[in-house]
């Protein structure tokens, strides 16, 4: 028989080996020699922390008692892992992008970085995990007891359990809180866990092979024996079967230690692809020999032997001490790896979500940068680890190892499973809200405690056995194991049904009836669209300075890491030295970085404290709007573009019309000009011919003819002058003769000139008063010409019996507006655009003479003088507005 001392020695050697492996892994991780550590095999093996002592010893016990039921505990995770693409991959991606440190952190981060939610999940996890840790201590002390039954000197199981708890706490403190790594990765621990995974698999396979081929006569005999020895009902495909599979599937995601190894410690999604088949394969191998061991144990060991210890007792009974020692080591590995990872996960949660927020609140009045966050975190984690193991030990002492191993495990599973609705809905449902998650978890937790956890103490804790029998306050509808009078025979199925249903009901109801806060919406989008184009560059606007941020960063992630981070960022921003600018993008990166150490809620609170705000603005929300909004924006932009195009097309069409019309006008003008030039030419030519050929022209006739010739040539000159004038004005070669002149005088002169040229005594020209004192620095001759042209046009085209022309002067701060309006026929709407063009003659111009240069000359003169002329559409007559600047 192996002595207790040898056993202790084996354990110590084994633990020393773990220490060395963990230390080597830490060292090579520091030196970035991570090839082996980054392999998917290490990742897969670390996930096998799922297989605890409960699996190692308890599965055989369960098979001996309940038939095939134990398989459900492995089938659930198998189903989750082969569906990795849809759930686990999303979790891992979110875990990496959001720097998630624990399941509580994930839930809190998803629901608006709510710390309350984080605290609730943390407490739930601690309550759910404590019995589980107690279970490991119990199985370890039981397995020790197997070897020490005959040894009077051996310590009692309670002391063994205490020593084990102390040893595990020491290991976890050393390797679990060595540093505050970015993203909370613990390479040393993970490698040690992977090694333990191999030990437990090898141990179980060795015992299994020994049992099948050396104790029994091969697999067929085992199967025949199984028919006889195992319970009649296999338990397969019953409601309990489905419930247990569901619970174990939940556990692989929601248990804090599973979340730690699957999500937090993962570095690549590719590893998940390997784990998707390798982890089910591991479970498959762990289960392969469970039934043979159970059957053989029942057959060869005396009646009443504890089936939970068959893995140890069969080799011992057959005298195979070294195999027994290996089996013991396997059980030891299973228990220790579970406890270590659970303690790390829980201590992270406790320190990030309970200790640190309390400390932050205490120091709120002071500057948050004034204390070293890192040392506080590390200290609080160490204390938490000791505290959690202490709690587990107390629980073990309290329950005294009364219940069968498996039942405690299942109770713990369901407790933690209350997080599932909040987690799943949070990943896929946008409207899942913080209040919904909180209500769901609290309702589910209460129902779990009432229907399963408290009844598991058989009336010795809080709920009396009387209450268990007749319900709370004697109300039979509230009987803990038959709520609302619905009789579900299996208490576990009953508890799962009610707790999960009521949890979901509360969750959905509150999510639908409450309005989430902006930050919640933002996080919901980040989580749900984690595979989409996500950018959180607009999260927080810069209010804080780089110096503040740097000090805070040093406190949280350490001097070296903070320096590296800031340096990298500064280089990215194109700065050669100094601190990077506190852009919103940088602040978001930094907050993520902090979240990797202290959790999302705390990181957010600290950044909020330093930047003075914690809210999200509407712009920031719009910037990260979901795809629908983006599509909508895109289509709106398209619509705008097409509208712009339509407007441009319309404008082009109008320009084209105008051009066509202008070209028409030009043609018309050319013929008009030829005509105009021809008419005086013709008369000059014919009269000069008469004078030339006829000698008998009398003096009187001669004088008349030569006067006609003179007049016509003058008219010809005038037309040519006009054309020349215009071309001069247009080319800008005209020389302005600027001097000061009274506007009133110019206007009066224009009126006189116009009247004289048209013999227009009956025309009523009204000049408004108060014009005499306006002095302009201008070319008076040119300006007068403008007025003459306008007045002449007004007289010339007026068809009224009593033409009225009004001249109004309006003095402006930096110029003068002279309005010339008449009561004539006006200008047709279609022509108003071309009247200032050269050669334009209005369609309604009638037979009146004119080459259509007057208004173009006016426009050109004013352009040269720095003013402008415009036609004002009015109902009666034509109105022209002339703008002359005071300073030219």
């Amino acid at each position: 028989m192996l002595s207790f001392n040898i056993l202790v020695a084996i354990c110590l050697i084994y633990v020393t080996m773990l220490f060395i492996v963990a230390a080597i892994a830490e060292q090579s991780a520091l030196k970035n020699k991570l090839n082996f550590l980054h392999s998917p095999i290490v990742y897969t093996l670390s996930i096998s922390v799922y297989c605890t002592a409960w699996t190692f010893y308890g599965a055989v016990g369960s098979a001996a008692r309940n038939g095939l039921e134990f398989l459900t505990i492995y089938l659930g995770p198998t189903l989750v892992f082969i569906g990795w693409w849809w759930l686990l991959r999303k979790l891992v991606r979110i875990g990496n992008t959001q720097r998630i440190t624990s399941i509580a952190d994930l839930i809190s981060s998803r629901y608006g970085k709510s710390n309350l939610l984080a605290v609730v999940v943390t407490l739930l996890a601690v309550i759910g995990s404590t019995p589980y840790i107690a279970l490991q201590l119990q199985s370890l002390s039981l397995s020790f007891a197997v070897f020490t039954q005959t040894n009077a000197n051996a310590p009692s199981p309670a002391i063994t359990a205490f020593l084990i708890a102390m040893g595990l706490a020491a290991f976890t403190v050393v390797f679990g809180t060595r540093n505050l790594d970015a993203n909370e990765r613990h390479h040393g621990v993970v490698t040690a866990i992977a090694l333990e995974a191999i030990v437990k698999l090898v141990a179980l396979l060795a015992v299994g092979i020994f049992v099948v081929w050396f104790v029994a006569d091969g697999p067929s005999e085992v199967l025949i024996n199984a028919e006889k020895m195992l319970p009649e009902a296999t338990g397969a495909f019953t409601p309990r079967w489905v419930t247990l599979t569901f619970l174990s599937a939940t556990a692989i995601i929601c248990l804090p230690r599973m979340f730690q190894v699957v999500v937090v410690e993962s570095d690549a999604e590719k590893h998940l692809a390997t784990a998707s088949w390798a982890f089910p394969l591991y479970l498959f191998l762990m289960c392969l020999f469970v039934v043979p061991i159970a059957v053989t144990g029942l057959e060869i060991l005396p009646e009443g032997s504890n089936p939970d210890l068959f893995v140890l007792t069969i080799p011992l009974a057959m005298g195979q001490e070294s195999l027994a020692a290996l089996a013991f080591l396997g059980g030891f590995s299973s228990a220790t790896s579970m406890v270590i990872v659970a303690a790390i996960a829980l201590s992270t949660m406790v320190s990030n979500h309970i200790v640190l927020p309390l400390w932050l609140r205490r120091t709120q009045a002071r500057n948050p940068e004034s204390d070293d966050v890192r040392s506080i975190l590390l200290r609080s984690r160490r204390i938490s680890i000791v505290g959690i193991l202490g709690l587990g030990y107390l629980y073990y002492q309290f329950t005294g190892g009364t219940s069968a191993l498996a039942s405690i495990g299942l109770i713990a599973f369901l407790g933690v499973a209350q997080v599932l609705p909040a987690l799943l809905f949070g990943l896929f449902w946008r409207n899942a809200s913080r209040s919904g998650a909180l209500a769901g978890i609290l309702v589910g937790f209460t129902v779990w405690a009432y229907t399963l956890f408290l009844p598991s103490f058989d009336g010795s804790f809080i709920l009396s056995s009387e209450t268990l029998q007749s319900g709370l306050f004697g109300l039979s509808t509230l009987r803990p194991q038959a709520l609302f009078g619905i009789n579900i025979s299996d208490p576990l199925v009953h508890a799962v049904f009610w707790s999960i249903s009521l949890n979901m009901l509360a969750f959905i109801t509150l999510s639908l009836t409450t309005t989430p806060k902006p930050l919640e919406n933002l996080q919901a989008l980040q989580f749900i669209n984690v595979f989409g184009r996500s950018s959180q560059h607009h999260m927080l606007s810069q209010i804080s300075t780089s110096e503040d941020l740097f000090v805070l960063a040093q406190r949280i992630v350490g001097r070296a890491q903070a320096g590296r981070l800031f340096e990298e960022k500064a280089r990215e921003q194109g700065k050669l030295y100094g601190l990077p600018d506190p852009t919103s993008e940088f602040i978001v990166t930094l907050e993520r970085e902090f979240a990797g150490s202290v959790g999302a809620a705390t990181a957010h609170a600290m950044m909020g404290q330093i930047s003075g705000r914690e809210t999200v603005s509407v712009e920031e929300l719009i910037a990260v709007a979901d795809e629908t909004a983006q599509v909508m924006e895109y289509s709106a932009r398209l619509e705008k573009q097409s509208k712009e195009l339509a407007a441009t097309a319309k404008e082009l069409r109008r320009a084209n019309d105008k051009l066509t019309k202008l070209s028409q006008q030009k043609d018309d003008f050319l013929s008009q000009v030829s005509h105009e030039l021809r008419t005086p030419m013709t008369s000059i030519r014919s009269f000069s011919a008469i004078l030339m050929s006829n000698d008998d022209v009398d003096r009187k006739q001669f004088a008349r003819f030569s006067s006609i010739i003179n007049d016509e040539s003058q008219r010809l000159t005038r037309i040519l002058d006009d054309i020349l004038d215009l071309s001069f004005l247009e080319s800008g070669k005209v020389k302005l003769n600027l001097h000061r002149k009274n506007l009133g005088e110019m206007l009066e002169q224009s009126i006189i000139s116009s009247r004289s040229s048209f013999n227009a005594s009956k025309v009523d020209i009204r000049l408004s008063e108060a014009t005499s004192d306006i002095i302009l620095l201008t070319d008076a001759d040119r300006l007068t010409q403008v007025f003459i042209n306008l007045i002449s046009n007004a007289i010339k085209y007026n068809d009224k019996p009593k033409p009225i022309i009004k001249l109004d002067v309006d003095e402006q701060p930096n110029g003068v507006i002279v309005t010339v309006s008449d009561n004539g026929p006006g200008i047709p709407e279609g022509d108003s655009e071309i009247i200032f063009e050269k050669f334009s003659k209005l369609s309604s111009g009638g037979a009146l003479s004119g080459v259509g240069l007057g208004l173009s000359i006016c426009a050109e003169i004013l352009r040269n003088l720095g003013g402008s002329i415009s036609f004002i559409p009015s109902r009666s007559g034509a109105t022209f507005e002339v703008w002359i600047p005071t300073k030219t």
């Binding site: 038939g67 082969i82 569906g83 693409w85 028919e227 296999t234 495909f237 079967w241 498959f284 392969l288």
Partner: protein
């Protein structure tokens, strides 16, 4: 013509990768149907030999097939992973 061909090829490619991802969804559903629904009891109870052995073999058989399928699927899906 060539443009149409390249378009068809691209279309085919996206359709194929979508199909791969859909297979990833189908596998756990197949697993649930085979391992959790009581309909499958007909496979095991109707057998002449006792139910325990056949149930055990059935479950382990399905399990092994699922693992093999997951192995193949993971090989197929690894190129689809786009890590940042």
């Amino acid at each position: 013509m060539s443009e149409k061909q390249s378009f068809d090829a691209a279309n085919k490619k996206t359709r194929r990768s979508r199909k791969k991802r859909e297979v990833a969804l189908i596998l756990p559903i197949v697993g649930v149907i085979l391992l959790l629904t009581p309909i499958l009891r007909s496979f095991t109870i109707g057998n002449e030999t006792s139910s325990l052995t056949s149930t055990l073999l059935f479950i382990f058989g399905v399990w092994a097939v699922l693992i093999a399928a997951a192995f193949i699927l993971s090989r197929v899906l690894i190129p689809e992973i786009r890590e940042k």
